[in-house]
Amino acid sequence: MATGDTAMEPVLSVRNLSLEFVTRRGVLRALNEISFDIARGEVLGVVGESGAGKSLTGTAIIGLIDKPGRLSGGEIWLKGQRIDNIGHDGLRKIRGRRIGMIFQDPLTSLNPLFRVGDQIAETVLTHMPVSKAEARARALALLTEVGIPAPESRIDAYPHEFSGGMRQRVVIALALAAEPDLIIADEPTTALDVSVQAQIITLLKRLCRTRGTSVMLITHDMGVIAETADRVAVMYAGRIVEIGPVADVIRQPKHPYATGLMGAIPALGAKVQRLTQISGAMPRLNAIPAGCAFRPRCTEAIGKCAEAVPPLVPVGATSARCWLHEAQVERSASHG
């Protein structure tokens, strides 16, 4: 249902996004031709091993790429408005207001010297035409909503007085404070105790569903994706190698890398496993091989894989970047 509704404009549309780092030893391409949409209320999972470019994609969307990184191509559209070229002040009005961000580490995301309630109220006051009293009332309501016990007294507490899980709840409240259209959650539970990870994901999912907020959920954890996401994008070495409805990608992955990842899904209730089922390691940015970047680790590689990067083409219900599906590749090439 989430994939093909062309009548509804996507909340977020990323088109051919590329990002590079200009270093002394040359230009490193960290993101290559990234394209995806997120529909209203949809949860897009983004998976891939460490260094694949997941965080950079999220950071690029809210325009927080630091030097020496820079967008070198592509477009980002938010509800029909192009946002990758609107400048510093334009972006600032979008951050927090229309796109909320949740970073990995709840322990360090909050300013240690400010009361949590003040930090929430600050966000509200920045984006909404409300009085201080209204902002505080909103902060209290948000803290209640994210499940902080005794919020009336906790609103004036400092971050260090909360546990990790509770702090991540505060961070979620902050991200939702100005009712954004989209939340980008970058590994929101990785730093947390295993026992609270599921609670946080459930909370995030519930809050976003009731508000119709879209979510880009970056994670290592295929189990979380399987339970939470509508669609999933699999990233490898700066590219999306497969994207499609979560059920299809899990049941019938088309890209050999995705196939390897799915083998790493833990059985229901089992402990979370890292994505280590595929032998070898992802190449560093300065050593990405010609052709398909996954070829050196791929057990099904053919001659063509070393020659050119395969395009992302529809294969059944999903889209994949792999020469093994050459028939589809050629068919789509003759179409366009």
Binding site: I62, L64, R92, K93, I94, R95, G96, R97, G100, M101, F103, D105, T108, S109, L110, N111, P112, L113, F114, R115, E122, T123, T126, H127, Y158, H160, E161, V171, L174, A175, A177, A178
Partner: protein, 328 residues
Amino acid sequence: MFAFAIRSLAQGVLVLVTVAFIAFSMFRFVGDPVVNMLGQEATQQDRQELTERLGLNDPWPIQFARFLGNAAQGEFGVSYRQGRKVSDLIKERLPATLELAVLSAIFATGLGVLLGVYAAINRTGFVSNVIMTTSLIGVSLPTFLIGIGLIYIFAVELRWLPSFGRGDVVRLGWWSTGLLTESGRKSLILPVLTLGFFQLTLIMRLVRAEMLEVMRADFIRFARARGIADRSIELRHALRNTLIPVVTIAGLQLGSVIAFAIVTETVFQWPGLGALFVNAVQFADVPVMSAYLMFVAAVFVIVNLTVDLLYFILDPRLRSGRRVAKGH
């Protein structure tokens, strides 16, 4: 917090007692007080009488206890050279030194924080580069050279400001101030600049480095991701986190302003405690020397206590943090 304050206080007292012991020892090892007070021509009988009267025949722990008791009341005996009570001499000189040091401290911290923040926010700007380069001079030039340079420019060449002394002072009870007369204020300018310049550059560089560090923190990034305005991120979120470590080091540095005052007071013939001490050293005037030592120690202890208290005001983690307090 209460336990922490008690501990700081106890440490301060320990420092003072230790310094007092050193000050006390000076009497025994630097010259003979009896000879110092009576001169070479005194008779044996005079000497014995004085030795008895000063209690110098008592065992040293008793003498030390007596010294501590007197010191606690601000009494350090009589100056060998001037024949006046040391406490009176100190009282007379204290206003000059304190006025100089406090104004220097305000100048150094105020401008230091301001310039440091500016240089951190506009890291690559032209003005920042000028500030940073100038500050290198401040860090590397010795204080007396800066003083002499300032005297040469503003007193000798331009003739705008006096080159020595306090100018006219107004007496308010036992306090004397140069702040209420024009010549007094003019006289303060060069010594304050000289004494404060080194601290100023130090604090400025410290604030800049610390602030750049804080600006890289995750919570700053998160504040940006929430759309908080740049000014608010810099001047609220970053600055407060910057000031916590800065307070300690700046505090300790300001304690040393008092110690550095010796050089500045000498260059400008400033009638303060530093000048008194330099004279006392020349004549081995032990009561004055030991009193000065105790004074400097007391200043450091007070500054330290103030810094500890400021920590509690600035950092909520210490205020409520049982976890943190137990940590070390």
